[in-house]
Amino acid sequence: MFHKSLRRRTLTFVSATIFMVMAGMMIAINITSSRDQVMVRTTARINLAAPAYRKLASTSTTMRSVPSTIPAGGVTVLGGNAQRGGNPVLMYLDPATSVTGMISQAEAGADALAIDNGPGLSVTNAVLASVTLPSDVPPAGVTPSPSAVIGTTAWVVTVTSPAPVSMSTCSVPGSSSNNCAVVVSNNYMVLDPTTGAFLVSTFG
């Protein structure tokens, strides 16, 4: 009787355990489904851009700064400012030909320093290029904004600081750590090729 009772209790315990495990799995599946529905991913590298805008796949040359001449086939300009490590893509540059009414390289540099007029700044490079800013590229099915810099012919002016500049990315009140500090030396300014008007810039 003791054994029968023990066996019965054991079976009951095993059954309950199996039930709880299955219930837990169902809950876990539901949570996973819920998270999938909002599509907040924990892994990267899914290409959501329209095929026409997938510059990453078509440029083979990568550089850590904007070059003085754009190589045939284009270049991917990398930064060092991803808080999780790795090198973010700042912009894609393809060779471009001059446009009617284009301002000179020197004028582009002067225009850049009229906007970035901090002490000690200097223009260390200016190159005409067809510019694509990856963060301007919308997902497939979404029309880019008219202001988007995607295959845009422009002067890319490198404005360099005399000392590294902290561009911290910790932006939540209460954050005590500074482990997400971002330090840059250059502001890559993309200017309209005929007016010198500011289009966009990114730090690297």
Binding site: R35, Q37, V38, M39, V40, R41, I46, N47, L48, A49, Y53, R54, L56, N81, A82, R84, V89, A110, D111, A114, I115, D116, G118, L121, P134, S135, D136, V137, P138, P139, A140, G141, S145, P146, S147, A148, S161, A163, V165, S166, M167, S168, T169, C170, S171, V172, P173, G174, S176, N178, N179, C180, N187, A197, F198, V200, S201, T202, F203, G204
Partner: protein
């Protein structure tokens, strides 16, 4: 956006201003400007905020209107900014849009910026964690126009849009958009002014608050924008010793300013 030639003229005029003032003496009564005592050396780096946030279990969109009022930034690295964002509250993961002045680059240019702490670009490449400047405008102390700054997640595309609807630059006629694939789950939305050194000026002055208005949030992906009431918002982490802020209004607005003016 000022055309290059007129901008150069402005720079020349600004550069010549001290000489002219020296020539005519100090009898000229200058209009009251932003705080002048804060423009010197930067001391201890930290992050100082004034504003409100909504802690929730979800936070899939944040939207507000404002314009940057007369910041003075310290030294060669001081910053002053105002922004809205969605975040997971960790301090590192966020998507935001706003206005930023950084003395290392300029003490007269205010950049429209977007920034994502932990995001990919839509093509799968890593997105920079540094600000991306989407437009360059001057200080807007007397402007009656409000720029709109928003970030929101779109379930159908899996992408977060960070958008600036510029009102202070007549040459910018379309929205300035950044598209980000967030690698975190947002759980709150925040609306703040921020400086990194005590010597820098929080946006807004006593006589001209930097008013954040039409504050709205999205608590569910694909949901509807909801104007944030006082009961929804918390004025926390007001750690900046020179910052002030008004009570949160029922119409979804509040003001921030630097108390040294």
């Amino acid at each position: 956006m000022t055309r290059p030639k007129s901008r150069r003229s402005l720079v020349v005029a600004i550069a010549a201003a001290p000489l002219l003032l020296a020539l005519v003496g100090t009898a000229i009564s200058l209009p009251a400007g932003p705080a002048s005592a804060q423009g010197g050396t930067c001391t201890t780096y930290n992050q100082y905020f004034d504003g409100y946030q909504h802690n929730n279990t979800t936070g899939y969109g944040a939207r507000m209107n404002t314009r940057h009022v007369s910041p003075v930034v310290c030294g060669a690295a001081g910053t002053s900014s105002v922004w809205s964002m969605i975040t997971d509250g960790t301090g590192t993961d966020f998507a935001q849009s706003g206005e930023l002045m950084n003395a290392a680059w300029s003490t007269t240019t205010v950049y429209y910026f977007t920034e994502c702490g932990l995001c990919d670009n839509t093509d799968g490449s890593i997105q920079t964690s540094a600000p991306v400047n989407k437009g360059a405008v001057g200080q807007q102390s007397n402007s009656s126009y409000n720029d709109e700054y928003s970030s929101w997640f779109t379930p159908s595309t899996g992408v977060t849009t960070q958008q600036i609807a510029p009102a202070n630059d007549p040459t910018l006629t379309s929205n300035l958009n950044t598209y980000s694939v967030m690698l975190f789950t947002p759980s709150e939305y925040d609306f703040y002014g921020e400086v990194h050194y005590p010597e820098s000026q929080m946006p807004g002055i006593t006589s001209n608050h930097d008013v954040l208005s039409s504050i709205q949030g999205l608590s569910s992906p694909g949901g509807s924008w909801v104007t944030q009431t006082p009961a929804m918002m918390q004025p926390i982490y007001d750690t900046f010793p020179y910052g002030g802020y008004t009570s949160y209004g029922s119409n979804g607005s509040f003001g921030i300013w630097d108390t040294r003016d």
